[in-house]
């Protein structure tokens, strides 16, 4: 039975995110833990449900186990629905030609029949690797008002950063008349956020045509959008103002975590725009007699006995007496021993930092030290010293340092 939906979302979550190194060794980027209790994908899924979009297809490919287990029936995001809800959509074997998802456009192409179940007028294309809160329903109203074939969400970036993005040129700030994918000499500072609303009929045509084109790399930014521009389709830019951050690198992931503490634009406690997550089952966290915590967030189940400054502490983390954690992110189930020191670092889940170990370096004043990263299930031995900027992975035992 077809239950017609006006707009459904397709969330591209198949990327490896290789610039996050050891943090995405066994999990897809959207499943990387963030902000004390969330995973990156929670922001996009929460935006969907808060914007009244109740069908979300999540396209997975790279290391989907953790992501699948996390999303499951979608209940934490209120996406377990009689009609619709959230679906994880891995590539599958077909009668005839079977393939992996070859590019962003190809991934959607391979799921045309999923989309058509809902007979939508519009399809919202999203990616699962940004931290932001955005009301897609406002963008959809804009799209309808302009009778656009495609609306691209854009954000103003500095000229210096513009060459890292897809850059949109407009006539009057709205009507798109040019598009440059990661240009050396950007003609504008309106960066595409990788959020598109298409008229489904139009997108369908372009996906089918693009699939038939053997020279195409089957990518929205490189192929579909330039082609639509070439054909003079009705294309609009929707300006977004607010917090938006690509967390595709170690530095940007660390910065976004620090922004929770220091940037008023990233709000996780807005009662009208909750960020939902699959919650751990743990009692409130405990701060001990010797604990001292300032300008930090701490999640449930943790037991604090040391000093914590400017840090994001996930759930079920234990810190020993005399330990110091500064400007760092410590993910769930990690144990920090007595007198251990962690500065300017990202410590992944299930890490053991033994007594007296030192990870990273403390900067003087505002000096920024390179971020040190310790991969999940690693053990940092008692008294060991990990220099700033080092990336450690001992998930399969001791590596040769």
């Amino acid at each position: 039975m077809i239950q017609k939906k006006k707009c459904i979302a397709m969330l591209l979550a198949g990327g490896q995110g290789s610039r996050l190194h050891v943090l995405t060794k066994n999990i897809a980027k959207p499943a990387v833990p963030f902000g004390g209790k969330y995973r990156i994908i929670d922001f996009t899924l929460s935006n969907c449900i808060n914007s009244n979009i109740s069908v979300v297809g999540v396209l997975t490919q790279y290391e989907p186990l953790v992501l699948n287990r996390y999303i499951r029936n979608g209940q934490p995001w209120d996406l377990d629905r009689l009609y619709g809800g959230v679906y994880t959509l891995p590539p599958y074997q077909k009668n005839g030609n079977s393939q992996w998802y070859e590019g962003t456009a190809n991934a959607i192409y391979q799921n045309i029949s999923f989309i058509e179940q809902y007979d939508p007028e519009y399809v919202l294309i999203l990616s699962g690797d940004h931290i932001y809160t955005m009301d897609y329903s406002k963008m959809l109203s804009f799209h309808e008002e302009k009778n656009a074939d495609i609306t691209i969400a854009v954000i103003n970036v500095s000229l210096k950063d513009a060459s890292r993005f897809g850059i949109v040129c407009t006539e009057d700030g709205e009507k798109i008349n040019g598009f440059q994918e990661k240009p050396k000499e950007p003609k504008s500072t309106l960066a595409s956020m990788g959020i598109y609303i298409f008229k489904w009929e139009k997108l369908r045509q372009y996906l089918i045509a693009d699939e038939a084109d053997e020279t195409s790399s089957k990518d929205f930014g490189k192929n579909i959008i330039p082609k639509m521009l070439e054909n003079g389709e009705n294309m609009y830019a929707y300006s977004f103002e607010g917090y938006w951050k690509d967390v595709g690198t170690i530095d940007s992931l660390w910065e976004a975590n620090m922004d929770i503490l220091n940037n008023d634009h990233l709000k996780l406690n807005d009662p009208d725009w909750k960020i939902y997550a699959r919650n751990p089952i743990a009692p409130p966290h405990y701060a001990g007699e010797k604990a001292s915590t300032e300008n930090s967030i701490v999640s449930e189940g943790s037991e604090l006995n040391g000093t914590i400054r400017n840090s994001v502490i996930f759930y079920n983390v234990k810190t020993g007496e005399g330990s110091e954690i500064g400007n760092s992110v410590v993910m769930q189930n990690t144990v920090v021993g007595k007198n251990a020191k962690i500065y300017n670092a990202i410590i992944a889940e299930h890490v053991t930092v033994q007594d007296g170990a030192i990870i990273g370096e403390k900067g003087e004043g505002d000096e920024r030290k390179p971020i040190t990263v310790v991969g999940s299930y690693s053990v940092i031995k008692s008294g060991e010293k990990i220099p700033a900027g080092k990336i450690i992975d001992r998930s399969e035992g001791d590596e040769n340092l």
Binding site: G36, P283, P284, H285, Y286, A287, E289, E294, N295, E300
Partner: protein, 370 residues
């Protein structure tokens, strides 16, 4: 486990009357993020009980709101699962029950229909982590008719005249005493009983025809049918809540790491409703020692020896000691809160002092402005 659970959510309402004005006993917030009923339901779920009936008497909106479909306790099931039984008005026009036996009349059909052979009955007044399948094994080994769960506790400070204690008579057989003056360590009832479904139905039938009300007083203590009633001594951590003093103590006990490790076990967790609050935020100048802090709390002031609930706000210069702050409480700048139990959404205005003692904790009802 071959048993259904029956949970009495109201039985002890009078004992925490300040908190039960707006809700049932089982829905009283506890330990920063829980409600009292969470412990019973989690114990049942963790013991493998998948059919649980919750009997409610009045003011059960907050309870229903908390329990929802039961999914957080894994009790949203196609077969069995969680069912809430508010009073059922019959043609006699009498709808509110006065005792446990009358309450059981309301769920007679529910018990009768169950496919399981045993019934575990429990109130919500004891904080513990117990495995009912151990109780069932014990029950069967002794070929008992009724097994009552108790723990060894000092009852000298118990303020309730209705405390139920058991006198051991022989090796495991017990005699039930309701009220009476006892001091020192006694076998204190944990308000949990296990018996065969058929026997329970017989007892209810008998109660209906003779007008009995109290399971403890009229059945256990009198034992007219000469049943074999045995006591199961629970040796883990258990804390009865019979008064606001106990309630305060039970919260304070959570600050002990050995109590936390006995209550919040990795393989037998305590489940509760999820609120999607962000992690707790410590601002510049926050000083928090020996305290439990739930998600959503924002702390700028000083907190010692306290239990801080979800979304509690403690402003700069505020001092909280030996207190229990339930969800959404706001303590404004410069205020001092000492040995107090502050119910949900209470606002303490700037530069106020509220102070109680361990023997007489200050109590603020829900939504007060102080």
């Amino acid at each position: 486990m071959n048993a259904i659970g029956i949970v009495f959510s109201n039985i002890h309402d009078n004992e925490l009357s300040v908190f039960t004005k707006t809700r049932t006993f089982g829905a009283v917030p506890f330990g920063g993020r829980y409600r009292l009923i969470d412990f019973v339901l989690s114990n049942m779920t963790n013991s493998g009980i998948t059919t649980v009936g919750v009997v409610a008497r009045n003011n059960y909106h907050s309870l229903i709101n908390h329990l929802g479909s039961g999914k957080e306790w894994d009790l949203s099931r196609k077969f069995g699962g969680l069912t809430i039984y508010p009073p059922y008005s019959t043609t006699t026009g009498k709808s509110l029950y006065n005792g446990r036996l009358e309450a059981l009349k309301n769920v007679y059909n529910y018990i009768q229909r169950a496919r399981e052979d045993y019934v575990v009955m429990s109130d919500c007044d004891v904080i513990c982590n117990i495995d009912y399948s151990d109780v069932l094994d014990f029950h069967n080994r002794l070929e008992a008719d009724i097994t009552a769960v108790y723990h060894r506790a000092d009852v000298s400070s118990l303020s309730s005249k209705n405390a139920v204690t058991y006198k051991i008579d022989g090796e495991y057989n017990i005699k039930t005493r309701v009220g009476g003056h006892f001091s020192g360590t006694q076998n204190l009832s944990m308000s949990m009983w296990l018996l065969k479904k058929g026997l329970l139905l017989e007892i209810i039938d008998e109660a209906i025809s003779t007008g009995l009300q109290s399971f403890e007083r009229d059945i256990l203590a009198v034992n007219p049918a000469k049943l074999k009633i045995v006591g199961y001594n629970f040796e883990g951590y258990a804390k009865q809540i019979i008064s606001t003093v106990d309630f305060h103590q039970a919260n304070m006990n959570l600050l002990s790491s050995s109590v936390r490790s006995e209550l919040f076990k990795k393989d037998r967790p305590i489940y509760t409703r999820v609120y999607d609050a962000m992690p707790a935020k410590y601002e510049e100048g926050a000083k928090v020692k020996n305290s439990l802090v739930a998600n959503g709390a924002v702390i700028m002031g000083t907190v010692e020896d306290s239990v801080i609930g979800r979304n509690v706000y403690i402003a700069k210069g505020a001092k909280v000691r030996k207190s229990v702050l339930m969800q959404g409480v706001v303590v404004n700048e410069g205020s001092v809160v000492n040995s107090a139990l502050i119910d949900k959404e209470t606002v303490i205005r700037p530069r106020q002092t509220v102070s109680g003692s361990e023997a007489f904790p200050f109590v603020a009802p829900k939504g007060s402005i102080i």
